[in-house]
Symmetry: C2
Subunit: 196 residues, 2 copies
């Protein structure tokens, strides 16, 4: 039994995806609600009726980005095959993602944290959770690699995970701010050669 009243003329997922794209390209403050209406195809009435506020829509877009992103990254780390190949695949995925669209810049969640973590506790919480989850997955993958002998036990897995993580975020921030894909590729190569 569906709800009474006039039915919505849009798909929730499509609206959130469209909003996500716009927030990705412009950040939170630089997106006006009018821009959001244009991009999503909704009128103001529909947008506010459905989401209540620009901020609420932003949070939903960020949450979706986080969920699909962390899932993709963890899947890559849990693939079959040599651990080093998986770590390489993760770096390649990040570069692909960060340069996937010339209007986007880098990773939406990093951009959001840089713009808003200071002022927006929900953004801060989400970013920290994302980083923690990625760090855990990295450490686990590296530990597995050490047990199987694929990765040297010279260094603690937690140190290697820390190191990979800061490398990974440095890479992605430079992708967003300096937009130098060639350097990104060199950095990824150097990371793998030196660390493992």
């Amino acid at each position: 039994m569906s709800k009474s009243g006039r039915p919505r003329e849009f798909k929730d997922t499509a609206v959130i995806d469209a909003a996500m794209e716009l927030f990705w390209e412009n950040g939170y403050e630089a997106c006006s609600t009018e821009d959001l209406c244009k991009q999503t195809g909704l009128g103001r009435g529909s947008l506010y009726n459905a989401y209540g506020s620009k901020h609420e829509l932003y949070q939903q877009a960020l949450l979706r980005y986080h969920e699909t992103g962390i899932q993709a990254q963890i899947e890559i780390l849990n693939q079959q095959g040599p651990i080093k190949d998986r770590l390489r695949a993760l770096l390649d995925w990040a570069i692909q993602e960060d340069f996937s669209n010339e209007n986007r810049r880098g990773c939406l969640l990093i951009n959001a944290a840089m713009e808003r973590a200071q002022r927006d506790p929900a953004v801060e919480r989400l970013f920290k959770r994302h980083v923690d989850l990625l760090e855990q997955a990295l450490q686990q993958a590296i530990e597995t690699g050490q047990l199987s002998g694929e990765i040297s036990r010279t260094h603690q897995a937690s140190d290697l995970a820390h190191l990979f993580l800061s490398n990974y975020y440095g890479l992605r921030v430079l992708n967003a701010a300096a937009q130098n894909r060639e350097r990104a590729v060199q950095m990824a190569k150097a990371t793998l050669e030196v660390l493992f």
Copy 2:
């Protein structure tokens, strides 16, 4: 022979420093001109008479930050003593800087690039120059270390410089966005232990 007319009641450097502090704490968009007047002590008339626009003041503040920052970093890399100690000192300096004031978050120039490089060619240019200068100084220091035997020649100096650089920016971005000083210290330690 000084200029005629009523003399200014402020020191240019003090105003730029005050503005820099505010931009550091809040970013560009989130600083209103009224905030800037309060923080610098100038009235609107004086501020616009002296600097022309908020944007012009921002650029001057960023330029000063860049100049003092790149100088400090290069000085650390050119210190006396073992190269590894200098690299450690650079990481320690960054952590110190990023947590120097609880209202500041991370590095002003990185924050600026993340907020504005997309829209503001001057910011993009300045950030790229800063990164390039730091990368050059790193590579040179590492090459010197390899010649003196302090650093293994297993890897190319350019690879090690790339790696250190992405580590460094990852560290600083996480300092800004996640504000976890303990992890920053661990990351710095891991960087030195694994890379050199």
